[in-house]
C-alpha cells in the first residue's frame, strides 16, 4: 500500500514557543492512525500542519507524494483531497445543512446545484441525517452538527480525513453516533488521522496509535501494545490518568 502522508522532521513554532520538535510519521493508504497525548502536546498542531492550516516552520509534509512545503504546490487543490473535521464543528450558520454540504462541490469542482444536491443525499444518509437536509445548523444537536461537518468533508470525495478531537465538545450521550460514523468510514477503507481522547475508539479502530508529549512522538505502536504494554514512563503515566 502506498504512502498517503509522509512527515519528515517537522518543526512548528509559535513565536519563541516550539510546539512541534521534529516529527516523523507515515500514514499508509486505508490506515487509521489515532494520535493521543496530554493537552499542549502538539497533537492538534500536527494535524493542522497536514493540510497547512498551520504554516510549517521547517521540515516537509507530503500528501500523496505532493510536497506541501514546496513552491509549486496548489494548496487549495490538495485540501480538496484532505477532509478535516474540527472540535467545534465550524458549520456555516447562514447555510442549511444541504448548502453546507454542497458549497464545496459547487464552488470548487464547479458541479451544478442539482448534481451537487443529488450527490449529497447518499452522504447525508450515510451520516444518518437525510431528513435534516433543509434545516439550519442552529437547530441541530452537537452530535448532529458534527455528522454534518463530516458529510461536508466527504462531499469533496477526499482521500484522507483528519479529525481534530471530533467528540471533545459533545455531550457524552451524543459521542456514540459520531464515533459510529467514523467507524463506518474506517471500515470502508478511508485513510484517517484522528486526534482523540476516546481511548476506546483508538483501541478498537486504530491500526496504529501515536502517543505525543511535549512536541515529540514518544511512542507509536498497534493499540494492543501501546495500551497493553507501553514502553515509556510518560506513556504509562498518561494512560493511567485517562483509562
Amino acid at each position: 500500500m502506498s504512502e498517503m502522508i509522509t512527515v519528515n522532521n517537522l518543526h512548528k513554532s509559535f513565536g519563541k514557543n516550539e510546539v512541534l520538535k521534529g516529527i516523523d510519521m507515515k500514514v499508509k493508504e486505508q490506515e487509521v492512525v489515532c494520535v493521543i497525548g496530554p493537552s499542549g502536546s502538539g497533537k492538534s498542531t500536527l494535524l493542522r500542519c497536514l493540510n497547512l492550516l498551520e504554516e510549517v516552520t521547517s521540515g516537509d509534509v507530503f500528501i500523496e507524494g505532493d510536497n506541501l512545503t514546496g513552491k509549486n504546490v496548489n494548496i487549495n487543490e490538495v485540501r480538496t483531497r484532505v477532509g478535516m473535521v474540527f472540535q467545534h464543528f465550524n458549520l456555516f450558520p447562514h447555510m442549511t445543512v444541504m448548502e453546507n454540504i454542497t458549497i464545496g462541490p459547487m464552488k470548487i469542482k464547479k458541479v451544478s446545484k442539482e448534481q451537487a444536491r443529488k450527490e449529497a443525499i447518499p452522504i447525508l444518509r450515510k451520516v444518518g441525517l437525510e431528513e435534516k437536509a433543509d434545516v439550519y445548523p442552529e437547530s441541530l444537536s452537537g452530535g448532529q452538527k458534527q455528522r454534518v461537518a463530516i458529510a461536508r468533508s466527504l462531499a469533496m470525495n477526499p482521500k484522507i480525513m483528519l479529525f481534530d478531537e471530533p467528540t471533545s465538545a459533545l455531550d457524552p450521550e451524543l459521542v456514540g453516533d459520531v464515533l459510529e460514523v467514523m467507524k463506518d468510514l474506517g471500515k470502508e477503507g478511508m485513510t484517517m488521522v484522528v486526534v482523540t481522547h476516546e481511548m476506546g475508539f483508538a483501541r478498537e479502530m486504530g491500526d496504529r496509535v501515536i502517543f505525543m508529549d511535549e512536541g515529540v512522538i514518544m511512542e507509536e505502536d498497534i493499540p494492543e501494545n501501546l495500551f497493553g504494554n507501553p514502553q515509556h514512563e510518560r506513556t504509562r503515566e498518561f494512560l493511567s490518568k485517562v483509562l
Binding site: L53, R79, V82, M84, H88, N90, F92, I108, R152
Partner: protein, 218 residues
C-alpha cells in the same frame, strides 16, 4: 385656520422640503461611495500586507482624526487651489461624506469581519475554497448581517453631518432654513421646523434599527 396656513411654520416648508431632498441625496450617494471605500479600506485594515495595512490605517486615522467641517472646506476651497479647477458644491459635499463616512465604515467592516469566528474561515479553507471564495461565501454574508445596525447608525450621523455643508452654501436642509429666516427674521419658527424634519428621518431610522438589531440577535 388661515392664520396657521399663513404662519412661518407652514410657509417655510416648501424651502425646507427642497433642502431635505438635497440632504437625502448627499447622504444617500455619499454613503453609497462611503460603503465602497469602507469595504476596501476595512479589508485593508485586516490585510497581512504591511503596505496595504499602512495605507488603510493612514486613511482611517486621518479622516477620523480631523473635523468634517475642516474636510469640507479643504475639499471645496483647498483642493481647487492645488488642482487648478473648481469642484461644485454638491460634488464637494458628496466627496466629503463619502471620505468621512468611508473611514468610519472601514472600522465597521473591519470589526464585523474580525468578529466572525476563525473556525469559519478554517472550515472554508479546509474544504478547498480559496481565500477570496471563503471571504465571499462564508465570512462576508455573516459579517454583513452584523454591519447592518452600525451602518444604520452611520446613516444617522452622516445625515446630520450634511448640515455642516451650509458653510459652503449647499442648499441642504439647514441652509434653506437659514435662508428663510435671513429674509423673514422668523428664526425660531424656521429652526424648529428644520429640527423637526431632521427628527422625522432620524427617529424612525433609529426605531427601525432597534427592531433589526433585536431580530439579528437571536
Amino acid at each position: 385656520m388661515e392664520a396657521i396656513m399663513e404662519s412661518h411654520y407652514i410657509r417655510v416648508l416648501p424651502f425646507l422640503f427642497e433642502g431635505l431632498v438635497w440632504t437625502l441625496i448627499i447622504t444617500g450617494v455619499g454613503l453609497f461611495f462611503g460603503f465602497i471605500l469602507g469595504a476596501i479600506f476595512g479589508m485593508g485594515r485586516l490585510s497581512k500586507n504591511k503596505l496595504v495595512y499602512g495605507i488603510s490605517s493612514i486613511y482611517v486615522e486621518a479622516l477620523r482624526g480631523t473635523p468634517i467641517l475642516a474636510q469640507i472646506l479643504f475639499i471645496y476651497f483647498g483642493l481647487p487651489d492645488l488642482l487648478g479647477f473648481n469642484i461644485d458644491k454638491i460634488s464637494a459635499s458628496i466627496i466629503a461624506i463619502s471620505l468621512n463616512a468611508g473611514a468610519y465604515i472601514a472600522e465597521i467592516v473591519r470589526g464585523a469581519v474580525y468578529s466572525i469566528d476563525k473556525g469559519q474561515s478554517e472550515a472554508g479553507r479546509s474544504i478547498g475554497l480559496t481565500r477570496s471564495q471563503t471571504m465571499r461565501y462564508i465570512i462576508w454574508p455573516q459579517a454583513f448581517k452584523r454591519m447592518i445596525p452600525p451602518l444604520g447608525n452611520q446613516f444617522v450621523i452622516s445625515l446630520k453631518d450634511t448640515s455642516l455643508f451650509s458653510v459652503i452654501a449647499v442648499g441642504e436642509l439647514l441652509y434653506m432654513g437659514q435662508q428663510y429666516y435671513g429674509t423673514t427674521f422668523a428664526a425660531f419658527e424656521a429652526l424648529t421646523m428644520v429640527c423637526l424634519l431632521y427628527l422625522a428621518i432620524t427617529v424612525p431610522t433609529a426605531l427601525y434599527l432597534r427592531k433589526v438589531e433585536r431580530r439579528l440577535d437571536v
